[in-house]
Amino acid sequence: MSQALPEQANRRTQGGYIDRSRLLNFQFNGRAYTGFAGDTLASALLACNVQMLSRSFKYHRPRGVFTAGEEEPNALLEIGEGARREPTVRAPVVTLFDGLVARSQNCWPSVEFDVGRVLDYTHALWPAGFYNKTFKWPNWHFWEDTIRRTAGLGRPLTEADPDRYEHLNLHCDVLVCGGGPTGLIAALTAGRAGLRVLLVEQGEEFGGVLNWEHCELNLQSGREWVRTLMLELVSLANVMLLPRTTVTGCYDHNVTTLLQRSSGLNWRECYWTVRPKHIVLASGAIEQGMIFRNNDRPGIMLAGAARHYLNRYAVAPNAPVVLATNNDTAYQTVLDLREANIPIDTVIEAREAISPALQLRMKQLGVEVLTGSRVADTRGDTAIRELSIESLKGGSLGRRECKLLAISGGWAPRVHLFCHARGELKFDASSQSFRPYRLPKNFIVIGSANGTAGLAECLAEAGSSVSRICAELGAGGALSDLPSIQREPIAGGQIRSLPLDRSKSRQWIDLAHDVTVGDAELAVREGYVSVEHFKRYTTTGMSVDQGKTGNLNAFIALGGLTGQDMAAVGTTTFRPPYMPVTLGAIAGPYAADLFAPKRLLPAHQLHLRLNARIEDYAGWQRPACYPRDTEDQEAAIQREVLAVRASVGFFDNSPIGKIEVRGPDAAEFLDHFYINNVLNLETGRVRYGLMLNERGIIIDDGVFMKLADHHYLLNTTSGGAGRICEMLEEWWQCEWPDSQVLIDDVTTQWANFTIAGPKARELIGKLGTNIDLSAQALPHMAVCQGKLAGLDVRIVRVSFSGELSYEINLPAGFAGYFMQAVLQAEAEFAITPYGVESLFVLRTEKGYLHLGSDTDGSTIPDDVGWGRVARNKSTDYIGKRSLQLEANQGQQRQQLIGLKALDVNQVMRPGAHLRFGDDDKSGIGSAGWISSACFSPNLKTHIALAVLRGGRDKLGEIVTVLDEEERYQARVVPPVFLDPENNRLSL
């Protein structure tokens, strides 16, 4: 016999399946405790006779352990410290480890003395939905802060999560959810047939109830039989076994998600997405509580849980124990307690009679069975100490001292995952439960999850059902050898509704959310009689446990209050996830640097060597500018802009979208997408174009060029290539499938470098080319192909800076080589690399449109000065009809204009709102806003582009600019600030 430990006062010296040789130290609320390897946090605390673990959600009532599984509504604790602190974990499912630190939550200053308990004493003020109707004076916001601080359970984390989370996808033939005896037989049957099987078990070990109930199969103990079965399962290479894993959701086409908890240190959780051909749900059943006054005290526990703690963890409850039940299964608790010499003398039985066999057994044990009775009330503060009993026909049956009240309201099939998969439930009068009725495709439910009672019946059902799946998948389908059963727990856990005692309001129907019969009465009184409305009004079943032990009580209460039976009341909808899933598991590895793909330029390393300040632009990592020495960003931008205007600049424009469209119908096809004419474009020429959606809104801009007959190259906005390519494909596949076109996104095949400035032509000539770069041979908006610096290139003469500019396209693998070749000319030409921010200044000076800055989801061509082109195009194009709508006509739309502050030193910022003088007085809202703004080093003043209501008619007028608290005045000017005659372009 092992030595008893004084701090583990309730630990039996024998029995259980814990490793008494491995003592584990842990802390709870700052006090040191011990447990054994194999314990859960709940079992260890119970062994140390810690009854009160937490305070309830709303009324801050003392609460203890109620269950032995993930359905726990009471013992919700905070574990861990620092960044690894985790709130609202269920004590029964936390595996104990050395050094574990746990705390009560939702209490202050301590769980023993909680100031919040005042809410319990004043409970009449806080009925269901109180926050919707009580705090109207002076207004909700007056109270909101206090109420929000009071509400909620755990404290959210503020530090970054230091742990790793993994993801995994898996395909299999059969996914078995639940590693109890039924699930084991299902997996073995499918595994023996050679199917790819994934068996998932929420707990640490497979076998379910056989690990702790007194069973005998094939003349072995339940635990021994499980071990034999597991040896075979482990030996099957086609069977994967996943302990410590919860099935969190079932979705369309049987897509199922799992949350696996690590047993090691490399990662914390792994989120699985499984695509099985068939799902076998063997998730068992959940014991339900009972409704009576003060049924929430510490020391009131489900009968099955009491048995679980006794048999599995050798935790003896405080005596005397009283059992209250309405079904046979709970009597097993009496037998087990008596076998362990723990006093239990009274059974409060709701039924009028029990089976003669049970009656005889109880009599032999000297246990008094009070049939036709129920618990009337309980007493005790930090734990139950006494209860009173009443007859269901009326009248008191006296009081009993009680340290543990084991209750059982019957067993409800655990059908949550079945409901996720859109399975239909139906009330079964014989078992008094909602059972799976209409199965989703390739989804079966077996065992007690299907409402089947008895171990032998469950195993037989598993074998035969899965054999049918095997046959369906052409895998033999031999029935597994079913074990002979010599001993099993008492079966027969039907739920029975007891008449509701409406004279007592403080009877809990949902422990986790503190919902009482009084709340239910109020809801019904106010007309919330549909079960879905009732749930939302009372919030029953909406806490972290999602009503696993409370929902049926809620249905019973609603039925009792409305005079309906359970079938008429119906059920609410179970939705994923079955258990809370951490955000870390959902994010998996896709956090920090891996949050989203970062696209690198083909010459990324060279830009770094040039001291580029890299920033993210639509997913591309691009140089914003190239600061020198001690320059700040603003100084670098100004230097780069001046260099481009004065000499020559060099810009990596590789992300610009490049889509090739070719085919006999290419011109007609593309003509549908641009407001500009594509049909009359000559080979070797380039045209700027706007693309619209069906509503006439600008969605992209860029040049398109004709490279040869039936062969076009489109440039889209940087980062827009994929989107536009998909759009072209969609229209082609859905609207014009007979069009003879081929669409190819070649964006990353080609690097693109812009050489811009008055000396651009000279510089390119120096690089060695066979292309005639003269203005006559290669004018503005023309394209040609040839050799440059030894490479095959395509040169497009277009400009986004307003300068003489050449865009050079070359194979991306040679980007670094070409960039080095260009920079070698630095000494001669003072060539300056410039970044995206500098380009934005250059284009703003020139008044060129930047999509996304100067446009939004309402901008049409006329707003940005392209109305005439759009109107004059004779052929049809996407968005044309929408442009004819009245809303898209007239001069009162917001139009692109330029702005100059009256004070030349005034800094203008994008986002600032504009008001006309009169608006300011009358309080009329914004007349527009600044869309782009910068300091122009060439004009030596701040300039801005803006959209302004009727802006083109307001040239010369003064507007007030509202930039947060700042107010200043600016003059409306044309949007082109520099070289309006385009002289610099046509050099």
Partner: protein, 219 residues
Amino acid sequence: MSQTSLPTRKTSALQQAGIEPGHLEASDICISELREAGLLRLHSLLVPERLQKALAGCDINLPLQGNESFGHEPLALCLRPGEWLLVSEMNQIHELLQRLKPVLATEELSTGQSAKTSLLDFSDGHAVFRLSGKAAPWLLSKISSVDFLAAAANGQHAVRTRMGQIAVVVSYHPASDAGSEFVFDLIFDRSVAAYLWQLLVTSVSHAQELAAEFAEDRQ
């Protein structure tokens, strides 16, 4: 002005990101960038069977069904009806391009219309990673929903999928050496090579764990 001599080797996708040597070898897994891989994309409006017949003369076995892949040098992958990737050594690509162009032109001529086929060198726009080893399918299963564990049963084939928000063509082919059961080539956009590399490398340890725990030869 001095002229930089034309390089014979292009900068690879990982080199451009500063990642060297672009090769990772660990227990049960090997990942490497195939820097010499060249790609042609063939996109055609011609009748596929006819094209298949014409290209057979160039020693190219063109698959007609999506996800099929045939051959070795070049490897031909059917991405969808009418769209193929031809994978070969970089130094073979130019020659392959020149060999195919006249054949395709002849086929176009026979239809009486031009520009019905596009044959593009995609070698610069894409990168190729090769994964091999027992843990390779587990590694891929971590970042894609395709059933890679069944890869060997499906024989040589290709799939288009998404890995960490990246579009990837995965080409499975039997290993040339007996030591490695699985060989997967990932073909994807060059600009995201560093991201995908980091994602794969980060996922290696868990993939090794999974392979050790669940691989079919675990006994």
